[in-house]
C-alpha cells in the first residue's frame, strides 16, 4: 500500500478515469507550477475498479479548474484548507476553452495563422458540444484531450 501524506492547502482531484491523470496534469499546467504534486495511477476504487488521483499543494486561487469539466465531469474536486476538505466543488462546463483544444479543420484560419489563440465555445451544453470560435467546426473526440 502506497501512502501519501495529507496536504495543508490545495486540491485533491479524485475519481479520475484511470490513465487520464497525466493528461490532466498537463492541461492544468501543473508541470509549470512550483508546488508539490502527487500523481496516483491505478488506485483501487470500489466504484470504478481503478482510478487516478491528483494531489496538488497550492494556493486554492491559483488553479483554473474549468477544463476538468470538459475532460470528465465525474471528477471529484476536493478543496483543502488547513488540512481539511472545505468544499467539494461542482464541475461546470466552461463557456469557452482557451489554448487547450486544437482545431483540426484544415480550412480553418487557425490552421495557417499559428499565432491565433485556439478558442472553443460551448455550443450545446446538453450534449457537451464545443465548436471552434473561428470556423464553428465541432470538436471531435480524439482531436486533443479526450480519448
Amino acid at each position: 500500500m502506497l501512502n501519501i501524506g495529507k496536504i495543508e492547502e490545495g486540491f485533491v482531484l479524485d475519481h479520475i478515469q484511470a490513465g487520464k491523470g497525466m493528461q490532466i496534469y498537463r492541461h492544468l499546467g501543473l508541470d509549470k507550477l512550483d508546488s508539490t504534486v502527487a500523481i496516483i495511477k491505478n488506485a483501487k476504487s470500489k466504484v470504478m475498479g481503478k482510478k487516478d488521483i491528483l494531489k496538488v499543494e497550492c494556493d486554492i486561487d491559483t488553479l483554473n479548474l474549468d477544463i476538468l469539466a470538459f475532460i470528465d465531469h465525474n471528477i471529484t474536486v476536493n478543496v483543502i484548507k488547513a488540512g481539511e476538505i472545505i468544499e467539494k466543488r461542482a464541475l461546470v462546463l466552461p463557456k469557452e476553452i482557451h489554448g487547450v483544444l486544437r482545431c483540426h479543420n484544415p480550412r480553418c484560419i487557425s490552421s495557417i495563422e499559428q499565432e491565433l489563440p485556439q478558442i472553443f465555445y460551448l455550443a450545446d451544453e446538453k450534449n457537451e458540444v464545443y465548436r471552434c470560435k473561428y470556423c464553428d467546426e465541432k470538436y471531435s473526440d480524439g482531436d486533443a484531450v479526450k480519448k
Binding site: 479543420n105 480550412r107 480553418c108 484560419i109 487557425s110 490552421s111 495557417i112 495563422e113 499565432e115 491565433l116 471552434c132 470560435k133 473561428y134 470556423c135 464553428d136 467546426e137
Partner: protein
C-alpha cells in the same frame, strides 16, 4: 465609431434589426437617386483573397451607387498575404485607409479574425464553406420583397443540400420566422445534414425529404435551386441516373403554382434550363438586384449613416 458592428453571420442581427435593414433596402429600390451621395467621401476596401466575380462587383457597385469609392485586391497573390502577412496585420493597415471593409477569404473564420482587430466595420463576403452572410441577406430580402413578408410559406430546396453553405445558412435564418415548411429535394447522397434536421426537430419546424422534384413542386411557394456536382457522387452511374431529377425545365414548371418563385444563388450551370429564364416566376436575376440593394443598406447601416434621406422611423432599431 460608437458601438461599431460587423456582419459575420446573419444571425448576429436580430429579426427586428434585419427588418430595419430590409426596409432600408426596399427604400433604396424605390428611391435609388436619394442615396446617390450618402457615402460621398467614404471608401470601401474589398479584400478578396480568392477570386469572386459577382460578390466583389456587387459590393463595389453598392459603394459606387452610394457615392463612395472603392479600393482593394481581387486575389491573395496581389496582396501582402503572398509575402506572409497575417489577416490581423492586413486589416490593421486597411483600417488606416478605408472606412469599411468587405473581406472574402478561403480560410474559415478569417473575416472574424479581421473584425477582432479592425477599427472599421468588416463584412464577411464569404469564408470558405463557412458563412456567406450577404448571400443569405440577399435571399431573405428577395423572399420578403416577392412574397410581401417573411413567414407562412413552403420553400423547397433542391440539389446539393449536403455541402451547400448557402442552403444551410438560409435554413438557419428562416427558422426564426413563423409558419415556414421546408421541403428538401435531393439524392440520398446529398441529403441535408442530420444536424440541420435535428435542429428543425428541436424547434418543432416541419419539413419533408424527397428524391424527385416533380412529386412536390406543386406545393411550393419558393423553389431554391442549387447545382448537383458530378464529383459529389460515388459513381458515374448514380450521377447519370439522378441528374435529370434536379434539372428544372418547362415540363416541371408546368406542375408548379402560378406564383411560385425560383431562386438560385448563382452561378447556374445546367440545373435551370435557359428555356425558363423568361418565365415570370424565374427570380434569380432579380435576386442579384436585391443583393445590390441589401449590400447598399448594409454599408449604410454599418457606417451608421442611415438617417438623412430615409423615411422617419425606418431605422428604428439602429
Amino acid at each position: 465609431m460608437n458601438n461599431m458592428r460587423h456582419m459575420m453571420n446573419p444571425l448576429d442581427f436580430s429579426v427586428d434589426e434585419l427588418e430595419a435593414l430590409f426596409d432600408v433596402a426596399n427604400d433604396i429600390e424605390r428611391n435609388m437617386e436619394a442615396y446617390s451621395h450618402k457615402c460621398d467621401g467614404k471608401i470601401l476596401a474589398t479584400c478578396f483573397y480568392e477570386p469572386s466575380t459577382r460578390t466583389r462587383l456587387s459590393f463595389e457597385t453598392a459603394m459606387l451607387r452610394l457615392g463612395g469609392k472603392t479600393l482593394g485586391f481581387a486575389d491573395a497573390g496581389s496582396s501582402s498575404a503572398a509575402k506572409g502577412e497575417s489577416v490581423a496585420d492586413t486589416i490593421r493597415v486597411v483600417s488606416c485607409f478605408a472606412d469599411i471593409c468587405a473581406m472574402r477569404h478561403p480560410k474559415e473564420g478569417a473575416p472574424m479574425v479581421a473584425a477582432s482587430k479592425s477599427t472599421i466595420p468588416v463584412i464577411n463576403a464569404g469564408d470558405g464553406g463557412h458563412q456567406h452572410p450577404t448571400q443569405t441577406l440577399t435571399d431573405l430580402l428577395t423572399i420578403r420583397s416577392l412574397y410581401g413578408k417573411l413567414g407562412n410559406f413552403t420553400i423547397g430546396l433542391c440539389g446539393d443540400l449536403k455541402f451547400g453553405r448557402t442552403v444551410h445558412s438560409l435554413i438557419n435564418a428562416l427558422t426564426r420566422y413563423e409558419g415556414i415548411h421546408f421541403v428538401f429535394v435531393s439524392p440520398k447522397e446529398l441529403r441535408v445534414p442530420d444536424y440541420i434536421t435535428e435542429m428543425l426537430d428541436s424547434k418543432g419546424i416541419t419539413y419533408e425529404e424527397v428524391i424527385k422534384l416533380e412529386e412536390v413542386i406543386g406545393q411550393l411557394d419558393f423553389l431554391y435551386m442549387t447545382r448537383v456536382q458530378k464529383e459529389r457522387f460515388f459513381n458515374e452511374e448514380d450521377y447519370i441516373r439522378l441528374k435529370n431529377f434536379y434539372i428544372l425545365d418547362k415540363a416541371k414548371m408546368e406542375l408548379a403554382k402560378e406564383k411560385m418563385f425560383i431562386l438560385h444563388p448563382l452561378p447556374r450551370v445546367n440545373e435551370i434550363s435557359v428555356e425558363i429564364d423568361n418565365d415570370p416566376r424565374a427570380a434569380y436575376f432579380k435576386q442579384v438586384q436585391y443583393g445590390l440593394y441589401v449590400r447598399m443598406a448594409l454599408i449604410l447601416t454599418l457606417l451608421d449613416m442611415t438617417d438623412a434621406h430615409m423615411n422617419e422611423g425606418l431605422l428604428r432599431k439602429f
